[in-house]
Amino acid sequence: MLSDARGPRSGDNGPRHWRNVVVLWTIASLIMVPIVVWVIGPGLPPGNGTVEASGQVTDNTVLLAIATPVALAVLVYLAYAVWAFRERTPEVFVDGPAIQGNSSVQFWWLVATTVIVLFLAGYGSVRMLADGAGGGQGPSPIATPAASEGKPVIVQVIAQQWQFTYRWPQYGGVETSAIDLPTNSLVKFEVTSLDVIHSFWAYELGVKADANPGIDNIAYVTTKGPLAFHVRCAELCGVWHGYMFNQGRVVPKAQFTSWITSQRQADAATTKVLDPFSKTYYPQPLRRGG
């Protein structure tokens, strides 16, 4: 095995490099983590429009705050290694020391990464099981809101190529093409599709749930104050997928009640001829072309 007595680089074998990397990494982390948490964090999606959306912002901030020192460790190390260990005499081929590994470094690396990973998985699971985080949970949700939150406003989201419509079973089964929601209320979305797979993505609400034909996909959200939100289809559903979007509003409760009442009256004739309200629908297959 080659010794480290290589003249100009004989100073390399001390712990100096380790110390330098650790110091640089600590400085970089001390600068970046506060920036991530207090400057970037509040701007992370999807905003603070609803309880679930705020929860996602918190989660994104936590993930980013943990990821920052990890990424910095690799980046600082890489930059330092390339600078400190670059070949200064490329004319001659000289080998580096025959280091085969270092079991204590390997051990502590494994411990550190395992701790981080288990924390992330545990944290994510706890957060998800708390309120469902606005995601579609299928017909039998595992994260249901506490009974104290009262009865939810139920909105059935019906996706088809290429539009969303909304059906309100608590308001006589009226079907609307616009969506308004009351403020400070628990809302239960029941998402289904008439043809292919779509995905109901109400960005500012922090809600995303795939719309499958024949499936009742449930997502909960608790609204806060008034809000305008975008609804987009997030699953490729055919030619006009890109055009499948609209907007909705979260409005004060009184305004919501008057809106849904007027919708009910205006659409009374149509509601009568609609299929009765159901969790899912099986229309005649329409060949609208993919």
């Binding site: 390339v82 070949e87 580096g96 395992t114 995905s199």
Partner: protein, 636 residues
């Protein structure tokens, strides 16, 4: 340099006479014949009931799929793949030395060759062509996205471009690293003279090429609108262009299965004396781990596509909700294949990066066992994560914490690979050659791919990122930033051995720097676009996002330019300059570089005996393979 020319054909043909016989020309002619035969039979089967069997008026899906099938059969027969079995069946002795010689020059690259080095170069050229075609699709996609509304292509052409870009990249690049490099290097590295099944190597390659051509034919049938994932039931209502998708991915799947099988058997059984498992070069380990995934995952895809084909033709209802089928079935089958698939793309890159970093740090691989454990760990865990693609799909949610955990666990073995790469740099003598730059670029890009993956694996965060540009940016960082950077590292590093010619260093450095800057400038803003709410695969978007999209498009053009620099480098260096590389330009201590350049037809004069670790840096003298090194020294 001694070329051991064995079994030179007794009657050497010249000029046009070469074209007669079993080769690509015959294959193409018989393939076209097979297509028309399939049409004929298909029309006969459906007869007057064509409307019942077709997804679109006037399109006969049975005839199209039969046409593809018989076309491929005709092509393979024309290539000569039926010769051996037919001869055996008829009782004739098989011709074992099929075209395994240097006779024939360039022409042998258009035939069935059983020389693994020829097959590797065939892979290199074939994959190169379709890599550029798929890359061109990406340029067209970005051109359309210059404006928030449709302005160059219609929505249908746009989605077809998206689907073709995705399918062709994924389908081609699954063999993109192992095809050229494992086929060439694994036998050399383990001290074998060939792959375990030489004819199968060639078969897997030509199947892939047949598949690529089939995918291109989709433009004659209205394209397909499903993206590379081909979700049902959208696919069942798609135009006949989707039949091309089925044909393409089924052939890619078959090609992968056979290739993986071939590699597993080769590495398991063909190792030279002394080449124990703990002496395998790390690239061979990565090929081994990948090969298991290829062999076991791809059949799942073939099964799913067969069911899709039956749904479209003979009106079964595997994926038809309301008739007893389920779209979830396709999503599950597809991702049980699809998630190992992304590691099929990533793992060989990891092997290549570690293999090359060793040479240009001039140190042994740091933590060899840890790196092996990392690769096998990734391969194993990749089977248990697929439902993270379906977090908001409405599949019963009980297993979500499990899939979150398993997905995040996979960052442990990935971390091993990073640690080994970082440890290898430690106190090394780092030479920033072009391959080494691409390896460092790989580490930089894959780091962001991994970090962003944590957001996708976390359910609350995934509610926003799923189906958005964030996911798109994530997998481009892992696949393009990982696989493609590994691909170029391998090209710059091994082309001197494969082709005996050096690639221009200065052009290589220009290529690297423009690529890594343009790559990050293209894909980093896509994270932001995803966070702002831009869904994938849309032809229109919120006008507020136009500035960022234009920035991305211009950066993508720069990626295109850097690829042109590379193409120029390849053509200039290989066709015009032809600066001989010598046997070992990098002064590497790996086995393959101890062989003469070009590598003789039968690789080794005698099978070498291995007696030491694969990376004898910093140890004197370097004990690679005693017998082989003597042979080389005598020649020098």
């Amino acid at each position: 340099m001694t070329a051991i020319a064995v079994s030179v054909p007794a009657h050497r043909r010249t000029g046009w006479q070469k074209l007669i016989g079993f080769n690509m020309l015959t294959g193409i002619l018989l393939g076209i014949g097979g297509w028309f035969l399939g049409q004929l039979i298909g029309d006969h089967i459906t007869g007057q009931n064509i409307a019942y069997y077709s997804t679109e008026a006037g399109q006969n899906d049975i005839a199209i799929l039969l046409g593809y099938f018989l076309g491929v059969v005709g092509f393979l027969v024309g290539m000569g793949f039926a010769n051996y079995p037919v001869k055996r069946l008829l009782g004739y002795p098989p011709a074992l030395a099929e075209r395994e010689s240097e006779a024939g020059g360039l022409f042998r690259y258009f035939t069935l060759s059983t020389d693994h080095k020829v097959v590797a170069k065939q892979y290199m050229a074939g994959i190169g062509v379709f890599f550029f075609v798929a890359g061109l699709n990406a340029m067209l996609i970005r051109t359309e996205l210059l404006q928030p509304n449709v302005h160059v292509f219609g929505a249908n052409q746009y989605l077809t471009l998206v689907g073709m870009h995705g399918s062709m990249m994924l389908g081609t690049m699954t063999s993109g690293l192992l095809g050229p490099f494992a086929t060439f290097l694994v036998p050399l590295m383990i001290g074998s003279r060939r792959m375990a099944f030489s004819r199968l190597s060639s078969f897997a390659f030509w199947l892939l090429m047949a598949g690529e051509i089939i995918l291109l034919t989709t433009v004659f049938f209205g394209g397909f609108q499903t993206g590379w994932t081909g979700y049902q039931p959208l696919a069942s209502q798609g135009t006949a262009g989707y039949d091309a998708y089925i044909g393409f991915f089924a052939l890619v799947g078959l090609s992968m299965t056979l290739f993986g099988f071939n590699l597993v058997v080769t590495i398991t059984t063909m190792r030279a004396p002394g080449m124990t498992w703990s002496r395998l070069p790390i690239f061979v380990w990565s090929a081994y781990a990948t090969a298991w995934l290829m062999m076991l995952a791809a059949p799942m895809l073939i099964a799913a596509l067969l069911m899709a084909a039956m749904d479209r033709t003979i009106q079964t209802s595997f994926f038809s909700p309301g008739n007893g089928g389920s779209g979830y079935l396709f999503q599950n089958l597809f991702w049980v294949f699809g998630h190992p698939e992304v590691y099929i793309l990533a793992l060989p890159g990891m092997g290549i990066v570690l293999e090359i970093m060793v040479v240009f740090s001039r140190k042994p691989l740091w933590g060899y066992r840890l790196a092996v454990a990392g690769m096998l760990g990734i391969a194993f865990l990749s089977w248990f994560v697929w439902q993270h693609h379906l977090f908001v799909s409405g599949i019963d949610a009980d297993l979500r914490p499990f899939y979150m955990l398993s997905t995040e666990l996979i960052s442990l073995p990935t971390g091993f690979i990073f640690l080994c790469a970082m440890g290898t740099l430690w106190r090394g003598r780092i030479r920033l050659t072009v391959p080494m730059l691409f390896c460092l670029g790989w580490m930089f890009n894959f780091l962001w791919g991994g970090i962003s993956g944590v957001f996708n694996s976390d359910v609350p965060s995934d509610v926003t990122t799923h189906g958005s540009y964030f996911v798109m940016a994530h997998f481009h960082y892992t696949i393009m930033g990982g696989l493609i950077f590994g691909f170029f590292a391998a090209i710059y590093y091994w082309v001197p051995k494969m082709y005996g010619v050096k690639l221009n260093e200065r052009l290589g450095k220009i290529h690297f720097w423009t690529l890594i800057i343009a790559f990050n400038s293209t894909f980093a803003p896509l994270f932001a676009l995803g966070f702002m709410g831009m869904p994938r695969r849309v032809v229109t978007y919120n006008p507020a996002w136009q500035g960022l999209n234009d920035w991305v498009t211009v950066s993508a053009y720069v990626i295109g330019l850097s690829m042109l620099v590379f193409l120029f480098n390849v053509i200039w260096s290989l066709a015009f300059k032809r600066e001989p590389a010598g046997a070992n330009p990098w002064n590497s201590k790996s086995t393959e570089w101890q062989l003469p350049t070009p590598v003789p037809v039968h690789d080794f004069e005698e099978i070498p005996t291995f007696s030491a670790d694969p990376y004898p840096y910093g140890v004197e003298p370097a004990p690679v393979a005693a017998s082989m090194r003597t042979a080389v020294r005598e020649e020098v």
